[in-house]
């Protein structure tokens, strides 16, 4: 078992100095950093195994194709899913757009409803708005309790037979709420609705078992789990993917093409038009292996420890408001400091080398619900330390002093 110190040494960027101070990177919910193992896998692949995949018969084409499909299996294993249902996309956003378009336009009808929560990231909200407008479906929103958890009693009432799709985050990127997705899937399936779970903030941080959760669709991104940008996963239940129309068309996703029409390749290839993100697949697979070696259980426990510490310290700090549930939560704390604009807070923390995010975190409707324009968010990962959490608190105190109104 590696120590956190050893883990940190795997990440070259963590030895960076920012404004003369050691980097304290607490912006992991936006994007994570890459360990040397992932960078090495990338370079080794580019230097000795790279070619385009799936159609060449020369050695490099065969190796690259083998590695690419192996990457698919690695990702399927990470979330305990059937590799035939694993589509490589650009990221969570494309995964959800793909479902909204390819599933939604074919199967969600006028008068049916799409049930979401007010805590969704824009990526799991706007594509459904666009779809609803196109097909004439209704948008419904699962009410929240005061603490930012889902109101299971009120939500159940909205989940009637007209609901065709439930779109819900596994973990909220602002509130940190961990939603009971397994229970939601059960409830939804009982009324015949499909469920898409946005796993962008869950898959990188905790063990995810899709065969247990039972979601029809599950989406996440490489860049939030120590892998590359430009790649993400859409898992779809194979029998549903079979029935869906393609999202984009072009090379590789076809079976036969005539001038005026074409037929489609089998899943998952039907949804991977054109040259796929090949080196990105190598990167995300190396990242998945790296995380699995550390252990998803360990990562979850480590994140939880840091988050609890941050919550405790900030809750005790005068003028700080924390958002979301106090107990079990995702690897982040979102807060505001009275009299300090979150952008100023982030900028002032940056003077001390501390990177946090400020803004609406792509969740404007949720911020309206919270009654604020913007919030500050510190988010943690396997390489963060309790000392970094303490530095955050010190930084918050210093910022208050700097901006103090006289």
């Amino acid at each position: 078992m590696k120590t956190v110190e050893e883990i940190r040494r795997d990440f070259p960027i963590l030895s960076l100095k920012v404004n003369g101070r050691p980097l304290v990177y607490l912006d992991n919910a936006a994007s994570s950093q890459k360990p040397i193992q992932v960078l090495n896998a990338y370079c080794r692949f580019c230097e000795s195994r790279y070619a385009n995949v799936h159609r060449g018969v020369h050695t490099l084409a065969e190796t690259a194709t083998g590695d690419y499909e192996e990457a698919r299996k690695t990702l399927a294993d990470l979330v305990q899913a059937d590799a035939r249902g694993v589509v490589f996309t650009r990221g969570t956003t494309e995964s959800i757009n793909l479902v909204a378009q390819s599933y939604g336009r074919k199967f969600i009808k006028h008068g049916q409803a799409i049930l979401m929560t007010p805590m969704e990231h824009h990526a799991n909200l706007v594509p459904w708005q666009v779809l609803a407008r196109a097909v004439g479906a209704e948008l419904r929103f699962w009410p929240l309790n005061q603490d930012g958890t889902l109101d299971m009693v009120e939500g159940r009432k909205l989940l009637d037979a007209r609901v065709a799709m439930v779109a819900v985050a596994h973990v909220s990127n602002v509130l940190g709420t961990i939603n009971p997705v397994r229970e939601i899937v059960e409830m939804a399936h009982r009324v015949g609705a499909k469920v898409l779970v946005d796993g962008a903030q869950a898959a990188p941080h905790m063990p995810v078992n899709l065969s247990e959760i039972g979601a029809d669709f599950y989406a996440f991104s490489g860049h939030k789990m120590c892998g590359s940008t430009g790649i993400g996963v859409l898992y779809g239940r194979p029998e549903i993917l079979e029935d869906m129309d393609p999202f984009m068309t072009g090379g590789e996703m076809i079976r036969e093409v005539w001038l005026d029409h074409a037929t489609w390749n089998e899943i998952p290839h039907k949804f991977e038009a054109g040259t796929p993100p090949i080196t990105e697949a190598i990167s995300i697979a190396a990242a998945a292996r790296y995380l699995q070696e550390i252990g998803m259980d360990w990562i979850h426990a480590h994140d939880t420890m840091l988050t609890a510490r941050a919550w405790e310290l900030l809750a005790a700090e005068p003028g700080v408001t924390l958002y979301g549930p106090a107990g079990e939560r995702g690897a982040l704390v979102t807060f505001n400091v009275a009299g300090v604009h979150p952008h100023d807070l982030a900028a002032l923390l940056d003077r001390d080398g501390i990177a946090i995010r400020a803004g609406h975190h792509c969740a404007q409707p949720l911020h309206r619900w919270l009654g604020v324009q913007a919030t500050a968010r510190a988010s943690f990962y396997l390489y963060n330390t309790p000392e970094e959490v303490d530095a955050l608190l010190e930084g918050v105190r210093a910022a208050k002093k700097v901006l103090q109104l006289v």
């Binding site: 604009h341 979150p342 952008h343 100023d344 900028a347 002032l348 940056d350 003077r351 324009q373 913007a374």
Partner: protein
């Protein structure tokens, strides 16, 4: 990151000049910072071609508030033509981090570092964009 939170900027943030509303503005304009949703209102009172009075209101980060405060201070009493020249100067300054030759920026120099902070540029330019709209509306 070059340190933008200097004493002059913080002074304008803590003690903003010309903050509030005008009773009889010739016109009012609003601006929104797409980065954070912050809103700012400018009230302008013209006396012919001259900007007799100006006030700003709204919540914002230190950079946008200080920028608005400096703007009002720099432009109160100027003519429409002078203001248009200032808008051009300011945009150039924010883009390059340098004042055009022979221009005295005064307190606005405190925003020098912004050109290296592409994300925060929107905070600094928020009041100026609103002003630009006001002028073009006033010109008709």
């Amino acid at each position: 990151m070059s340190d933008i939170y200097g004493e002059i900027l913080l002074d304008h943030y803590r003690l903003p000049r010309n903050k509030g509303r005008l009773e009889h503005p010739t016109l009012s304009v609003e601006g929104v910072n797409p980065l954070c949703g912050d809103e700012l209102t400018l009230d302008l009172e013209f006396d012919g071609q001259r900007l007799k009075d100006i006030r700003f209101s709204g919540k914002g980060c230190a950079i946008s508030v200080a920028s608005a405060s400096m703007l009002t201070e720099a432009l109160k009493g100027k003519t429409v033509e002078e203001i248009e020249r200032w808008i051009g100067v300011f945009r150039e300054f924010i883009r390059t981090g340098r004042a055009p030759d022979g221009v005295e920026l005064g307190d606005l120099l405190a925003l020098e570092g912004i050109s290296k902070l592409p994300v925060r540029v929107k905070c600094a330019t928020l009041p100026w964009s609103a002003l630009e709209e006001a002028i073009s509306r006033y010109r008709g």
